[in-house]
Amino acid sequence: MSTETEKTDFRKYLEPRVLAKIGALDIRARLIVEGLINGMHRSPYKGFSIEFAQHRPYSSGDDIKYIDWKVFGRTDRHYIKQYEEETNLQLMLVVDASASMEYSGKTDPVWRKYDHAISVAASMAYVALQQRDSVGLAVYDSQIRRIIRPSNNPRQWRVIIEELSAASGAQKTDTGMVLEQIAEELKHRSLVILISDLFEDPARLIKGVRHLRYRRHDLICLQILDHDELVFPFNQTTMFKGMEELAELVVEPQALREAYLNELAAHNTLLREACHQLRVDCVQVDTSVPLDVSLPNFLASRAARLS
């Protein structure tokens, strides 16, 4: 019974619609990682993991070394052998599991920001594993709570999901410090996807990003924000209680709405400008927007930029 429940829990983070949309896309690293040679991620290990995929008729311009002569002998026609392309991309998912990620909005009180982060991570991991890429995971709050080394084992996805589901947020965030630790931990150049609300000191966060980039890792920042945090839709007098050991505040939300949104916008602007300078993709993900809308958009635009 418990096994059935766990299966159900896993499935809720992986929607078929999302996978259908992002399955055709790839998670391109901005930088050439470890000398990829063929396919999308050109691998330095030539012919190491080439697997036959299908034949197709020869057409002028094709390299003759890919002609399958055995087939020519049997059929007296020229066919080209095609192979499944395979890379050795190392994807590291760094997921924020601090207290602030526990927030769930008015529209869907059950769906936390952390749930949305798990969905994003699960989707990205699934796609990467489908592409035979290695996927690792780091769950953190004020420090790294759990780290899973990258692997392209198909069972890695389940391990990752179990680890993400087991994490519970109760601590403050220190993403900058965590990124510095991650940068030291990763032995190979990797694509790091940071999934967090980024509610912390921008200077400290930028320092961690800079350290990661110094180690020549590629970084994607996915800022998970609840719709309430983006529009501040409250009307009645409310006591706001800080989720990361911050003070309490009783205010009339209408009176403070504009000022709050200005503060949030200033914070985001500062982060985006810093990321832009460091050639890091930083994108905001609204929890009220379905993943089959937000993720394909981002991945498609990123692929277009890199190509």
């Binding site: 207290a99 602030s100 990620m101 526990e102 927030y103 920001k113 609300d197 509610f199 609840d226 945090e229 983006l230 529009v231 501040f232 409250f234 009645q236 007098t237 409310t238 006591m239 706001f240 209680k241 800080g242 989720m243 990361e244 911050l246 003070a247 505040l249 009783v250 205010v251 009339e252 939300p253 209408q254 009176a255 403070l256 709405r257 504009e258 000022a259 709050y260 949104l261 200005n262 503060e263 949030l264 916008a265 914070h267 985001n268 602007t269 985006r272 905001q284 609204d286």
Partner: protein, 745 residues
């Protein structure tokens, strides 16, 4: 409203404003409650909220305070507006827990309301019927006060009482009075009552049931009351304004008849000052045609002491015109004392003013005191002025109209002046202070003083007499050039003498008065309120008269002997003296001939009564008051206001007083129309209900402060509410930062 502080606005319903003002505390209470009642919410982005709060804490506190003030002010203005222009609708009153209402009925029960056309219903009867219907339909919470608008009549229900069958009975028992109408007093009484009661009840309304005749506004039909009787209209408007300012509504129910016609005897009196035994009675009476059509020849009948004394016919009388008629009744009265004469015409729709009565005293002769300052000088062989006057006043041994009594100046202080009607000072030195005092008392009571100068007349001393007894100052005597004596200039005279003799002369009939020559005279300088009766050809006043108290004083500029003028020797001297006396003598019996609504107040000597018998066996109670002033000790009899027309007799059956309706003031029953009435009351035309079928409790509008201020305050309150809403919206408006727009989408 401009510049009018809110604190001094006379609210229509101040209690409502007070309740609304109390509601001002509602936003404050809500504000305080909101600070204690809030929802709790965990919040992730607390660092941004705290930063926003720190940066805006002062502005937020200021905005909150401003919004609070705006909300309070809006409520206050709303309350003020509602309290100002809603006089107390039943629904609102019921909502607020006070549905009581006071209706003050000002009821015109004056005698013109009894106008009864053939086969119709009088305005008073109709008003009584409507009031009765209305009072029967009253429910709980209704209070009623009844004010009589007739002059001198008591208030019917001076203190408001709850609506009940007793009120209906009181209304049903009322009859039209015989008094005249006094609108300003009645409305002022209603305003006073409204001011006292509008705090005790939810609302107060004043209803005026009247007939809106021309007499009500002191004008004639078709004329503009504002032009013809501005004072009367001003008084009425002031009373109406007082009602509105007292927080009451005002409505007029006009029961008048547009084509009412009425013929009335408005005046009846003796043509002369007194009637004398054995003399014909000379009457003067005035007829008024108050209708819109000319009256055919009118036949007037007379009775003296109840006995027919003849008739007289007069010609056609134009509409809205009056006619004064002189009548000589050849029915000499042979007994002294009080007698009554009654004149009557054919009764019409308003019969009460078709009969008029007059009480007059019949004397054997008019007593005249001649004070001779220079008795005849036998050495000069001339008659003194006193002698000339005595000869003129008493030409025969008996049967004279006047009874002169001659004294010399020193005897003036000892003589009882109250026994005389006229005192003539002829060529005398100025009396001392005591003498002046006695003369002033004599004239003030109604006596006549006549002063002739002469050779020993000290003009300067007379001019400097204390007080204002004399109507002119004397100048220095002027002698006409030899051979060129002055004559009378009747054409340039502002002539107040209306006796036939002077009138005939002015109309060109030779009376010999032009033959009078004046060789010497003392110029007269009239006082401001005196009247010059005769002038000389040079323009100098020769005869100046003035009122003093109830009597008159006349000064001649020349002597009454032949030293300065030949006037005594002329044939016209006798009629001139008689007519002069007739004009100077005040009409006797004014104290006894009253109009309904006035009090009888009469000083009598000797017998006193405690009551009089009036018409229809009514009794008029009298109060007695001792009068120490004057000649001898008298008793003054004072009654309450007389309520009915007729002859009032003493216990021994002799006539003592007569009462008539105030026909000259009130008998013009021509209807002025609702439009003109609205102008006179200065109220909207919709507040005049012409010929109503019922006294429906229609909502009346507020004149003056009410409407204007109420709407102004309402608009201000609405503007304040809109401003508050806009301010609240502006304070909390949400703008997406440009960089966030796409992301949020």
């Amino acid at each position: 409203m401009q510049g009018l502080p809110l604190a001094v606005i006379p609210f229509v319903t101040p209690w409502l404003f007070a309740a609304g003002a109390a509601c001002v505390s509602i936003p404050i209470v809500i504000h305080l409650l909101n600070r204690r009642r809030f929802r709790q919410r965990p919040w992730a982005a607390m660092q941004f909220l705290m930063a926003a709060w720190r940066r805006n804490v002062r502005r937020l506190k200021l905005q909150r305070l401003l919004l609070l003030l705006l909300r309070c002010l809006a409520l206050l203005l709303l309350a003020a507006a509602i309290a100002q222009f809603i006089p107390g609708s039943a629904g609102l009153q019921a909502l607020m827990g006070n549905s009581s209402r006071l209706t003050i009925i000002v009821w015109n029960n004056a005698y013109p309301m009894g106008y009864l056309p053939h086969g119709g219903e009088s305005p008073f009867a109709k008003s009584r019927r409507l009031l009765k219907q209305w009072s029967q339909g009253l429910s709980g919470g209704e209070w009623v006060a009844l004010i009589s608008a007739a002059r001198g009549t008591p208030t019917l229900l001076a203190k408001p009482v709850p609506a009940s069958s007793a009120v209906t009975q009181i209304i049903a028992g009322q009859k039209v009075t015989q008094g005249g109408l006094n609108i300003p007093v009645a409305l002022a009484r209603a305003a006073s009552l409204a001011a006292k009661w509008h705090h005790r009840v939810g609302s107060v309304r004043v209803w005026f049931l009247t007939d809106d005749t021309a007499s009500d506004f002191g004008c004639s039909a078709g004329s503009d009351p504002l032009m013809q009787a501005p004072q009367a209209v001003t008084q009425i408007r002031r009373a109406v304004r007082a009602i509105l300012h007292a927080g009451a509504t005002f409505r007029v129910f006009d029961l008048g008849r547009p084509h009412a016609a009425n013929l009335a005897i408005t005046h009846l009196r003796l043509a002369g000052p007194e009637a004398l035994i054995g003399h014909n009675i000379h009457l003067r009476m005035t007829l008024l045609n108050a209708g819109s059509q000319p009256q055919p020849p009118i036949r007037i009948g007379f009775t003296i002491d109840g006995v027919s004394a003849g008739t007289q016919s007069v010609g056609t009388l134009s509409p809205q015109k009056s006619m004064t008629i002189s009548t000589l009744l050849s029915n000499p009265i042979q007994t002294p004392g009080l007698h009554s004469i009654v004149a009557h015409i054919q009764p019409d729709a308003l019969p009460i003013d078709d009969t008029r009565r007059h009480l007059f005293d019949v004397a054997s002769a008019i007593p005249v005191l001649l004070v001779d300052g220079r008795p005849g000088d036998p050495a000069e062989g001339v008659l003194s002025s006193t002698a000339w006057l005595q000869a003129a006043l008493a030409p025969a041994a008996r049967g004279n109209q006047y009874a002169p009594h001659v004294i010399e100046m020193p005897q003036l202080l000892e003589e009882n002046l109250s026994h005389f009607s006229v005192v003539v000072l002829s060529d005398v030195a100025p009396p001392g202070a005591r003498g002046i005092k006695r003369l002033e008392a004599f004239v003030r009571r109604g006596g006549t003083l006549l002063v002739y100068p002469g050779r020993q007349f000290d003009a300067a001393a007379w001019s400097h007499l204390p007080g204002s007894l004399l109507p002119a100052r004397f100048g220095v005597a002027i002698a006409s050039p030899a051979g060129k004596p002055a004559t009378l200039d009747l054409q340039r005279t502002i002539n107040a003498i209306t006796e036939p003799f002077i009138l005939a002369q002015r109309e060109g009939i030779h009376t010999g008065i032009f033959h009078i020559t004046i060789r010497k005279h003392i110029p007269l300088f009239p006082a401001p309120h005196s009247v010059t009766w005769l002038r000389l050809t040079g323009g100098d006043p020769l005869l100046v008269a003035g009122n003093f108290g109830r009597g008159k004083v006349a000064l001649w500029g020349t002597s009454c002997d032949t030293q300065w003028t030949d006037m005594p020797a002329q044939p016209s001297f006798l009629p001139l003296v008689y007519e002069l006396f007739q004009s100077l003598l005040p009409a006797r019996g004014a104290d006894r001939n009253l109009v309904v609504g006035r009090r009888l107040s009469l000083a009598v000597r000797g017998r006193a009564f405690s009551s009089l018998r009036g018409p229809d066996r009514t009794v008029l109670e009298l109060r007695q008051r001792l009068v120490p002033r004057g000649e001898g000790r008298r008793i003054r009899l004072v009654s309450r206001p007389i309520q009915g027309v007729g002859i009032y007799r003493s216990a021994d059956g002799l006539p003592f007083a007569a009462a008539n309706v105030s026909a000259s003031r009130d008998s013009n029953v021509a209807h002025v129309g609702p439009k003109m009435a609205a102008v006179c009351y200065k109220i909207p035309l919709r507040d005049i209900d012409f010929q109503p079928g019922s006294l429906a409790a229609r909502v009346t509008s507020q004149a003056g402060m009410g409407g204007t201020a109420g709407w102004s305050l309402l608009f201000m309150a609405l503007a304040m509410l809109i401003g508050e809403a806009l301010a609240a919206r502006a304070f909390s408006r949400y703008h997406l930062a440009p960089a966030d727009k796409g992301a949020a989408a």
